[in-house]
């Protein structure tokens, strides 16, 4: 299996604080990779280096490289918009725009220059079907995205990310504000989506990592302690710190 994303010796600093220490990781194509670890371990920071979302943070500094299909996305000639077109993101809090469901979904394609009404209609239906929201909202596409329930809002955000046809979807604790049923729906959705996309998910919830992912990386204090197939990480961890964490001795 090809690595879709490779990071090499990735260091990240917020001012004087080092958040990532020499993280080297291969993320496999068409798999769900979960990143786990206690709060402040750097897993979210790592995720946000993969679509250069950390670019806007003042005084932040990155060393090392992130390769997307072999292309270093931090090379000076790379356009950040091109990177984000290929790497979509879903955030911790559902963050739909205060616009209609329809306008939310077509926001990305429109910013990238797609304006043809029929094409946009197709994009909306395809994306909402893929995120499993179509049947619930198809008669109400003019309704505000803010008026949906939390779980629906998060699936709207997933549809919005799918609308730009990315290759990778990053999810930053996407279920942390959702109820168990909505959480389950998102996990099922990840299984459906991984056939077409590569998914990287940061989660606080170890059961979720165990249920929904194929690969798991364990982060602690900015280091990637252990990385492997999810079943092995949870049944036969090689590192003592990983074992302590997954058995609930800390974190």
């Amino acid at each position: 299996m090809n690595p879709k994303i490779q990071t090499k010796e990735l260091d990240f600093h917020y001012g004087k604080v080092q958040a990532l220490k020499k993280v080297t990781l291969d993320i496999k194509e068409h798999q769900v990779t979960a990143l786990i670890g206690p709060s402040g371990c750097g897993k979210s920071t790592f995720l946000r280096t993969l679509n250069r979302m950390n670019d806007v943070i003042p005084n932040a500094r990155l060393e090392g490289a992130v390769f997307l299909d072999g292309l270093n996305i931090y090379a000076p000639e790379v356009d950040v918009v091109e990177v984000r077109k290929r790497v979509g993101m879903v955030f911790q809090q559902p963050n739909p725009f205060p616009k209609s469901i329809y306008e939310n979904v077509i926001f990305g394609p429109r910013m990238l220059g797609l304006n043809h009404r029929t094409n946009l209609n197709d994009v909306v239906e395809k994306s909402l079907r893929a995120s499993g929201l179509w049947d619930e909202v198809k008669d109400n596409l003019g309704k505000s995205g803010m008026a949906l329930s939390g779980g629906q809002q998060q699936r709207l955000c997933i549809a919005r990310a799918l609308a730009i046809e990315p290759e990778i979807i990053l999810m930053d604790e996407p279920c942390s504000s959702l109820d168990p049923i909505s959480t389950l729906r998102i996990e099922e959705l990840m299984q459906e989506l991984k056939g077409k996309y590569t998914i990287v998910i940061v989660t606080h919830n170890m059961q979720q990592a165990a249920r929904a992912s194929d690969w798991t990386g364990f982060f602690l204090l900015g280091e990637m302690v252990e990385y492997g197939p999810t079943s092995e990480i949870f049944s036969r961890p090689k590192d003592k710190r990983t074992e302590d964490y997954i058995t609930g001795r800390f974190g």
């Binding site: 003042p58 984000r84 205060p98 926001f107």
Partner: protein
């Protein structure tokens, strides 16, 4: 010290805040009510459509003053709004948090506290004299821009800053550039706050008198171009009250001022709602 029971204290606090609220509303109602009650009966179509003709009894109406005031507001806002919003976007979205930007912010705050007559003197020295604009609507408008810019920049910056960071991140993560994010996500969300700032600026412009007297002059003649002088409604009220015995006409002019501000507020809000719907797209 006498110790009051929490329950009694609560009653006293409630009574005090209630009285304070009623008194503030009452003062407002009294002033507006007085001006409208005394002023409205004097207003006639003739009063509105003839220009002041001078004299101890304040002959004539206020037509040229209305025209001068509307011109002044239009020119001031045409310069003020793009400058103010542009600077606010820069400060809130682009400027790095450095000593230099802190200095900008500090000086903006400082400027906002300078009395308006000082701006008037500045406008007189620079626009009227040095730039040879003489007493003119343009000189008055430029002076008002200097006076109101700090306030508009700060209130627009505040409105932009209150847009949640998650909204910016959502737009950026979808491949929007920073400018697209500003135009399509941040500005629609910040618009109500910015509009409030603009309305307060219009109110300030209409209310200002001293700093306009020294930059636009007090000519009651009908302005014919941006370089003509003019007498605004507020200056005319001052003139009527101090130089004539036509207090009734001063109050009538005041009533017109109040109504004008009211109309401008309503139409600005209406416009902003239309604009917001258009910028957000869809229903």
């Amino acid at each position: 010290m006498i110790k009051l029971s929490p329950k009694l204290m609560q009653k006293i606090a409630w009574g005090f805040t209630w009285a304070a609220g009623i008194i503030s509303v009452l003062i407002l109602v009294l002033i507006i009510g007085y001006v409208l009650a005394k002023g409205l009966p004097v207003i006639s179509l003739e009063f509105l459509l003839t220009s002041p003709e001078g004299g101890l009894s304040g002959e004539g109406g206020i037509f040229s003053c209305i025209v001068a005031t509307l011109w002044l507001i239009a020119i001031t806002m045409a310069i003020l709004i793009p400058l103010g919003i542009g600077a606010a976007i820069y400060l809130a979205e682009y400027a790095p948090d450095s000593k230099f930007t802190r200095l900008i912010r500090y000086s903006v705050d400082l400027l906002a506290g300078v009395p308006s007559i000082v701006f008037g003197l500045f406008g007189f020295a620079v626009f009227v004299m040095a730039l040879h604009l003489s007493y003119s609507i343009l000189a008055g408008a430029l002076t008002l821009v200097c006076l109101l810019l700090p306030f508009l920049v700060r209130s627009a910056e505040e409105a932009i800053r209150t847009v949640p960071q998650e909204q910016r991140e959502a737009a950026l993560s979808l491949g929007a550039t920073r400018w697209q994010t500003i135009v399509h996500v941040i500005m629609p969300a910040a618009l109500p706050g910015i509009i409030t700032g603009i309305i307060l600026c219009v109110g300030g412009a209409v209310a200002e008198s001293a700093c306009l007297y020294v930059t636009m002059g007090g000519s009651a003649a009908m302005p014919t171009s941006l370089l003509s002088g003019g007498r605004t409604l507020a200056v005319h009220v001052f003139y009527l009250a101090m130089e004539t015995n036509a207090l009734d006409k001063a109050l009538a002019t005041g009533a017109v001022l109040i109504i004008l501000i009211f109309i401008i507020n309503l139409s600005t809000r209406w416009l902003s709602q239309r604009l917001q719907a258009k910028m957000s797209g869809g229903t």
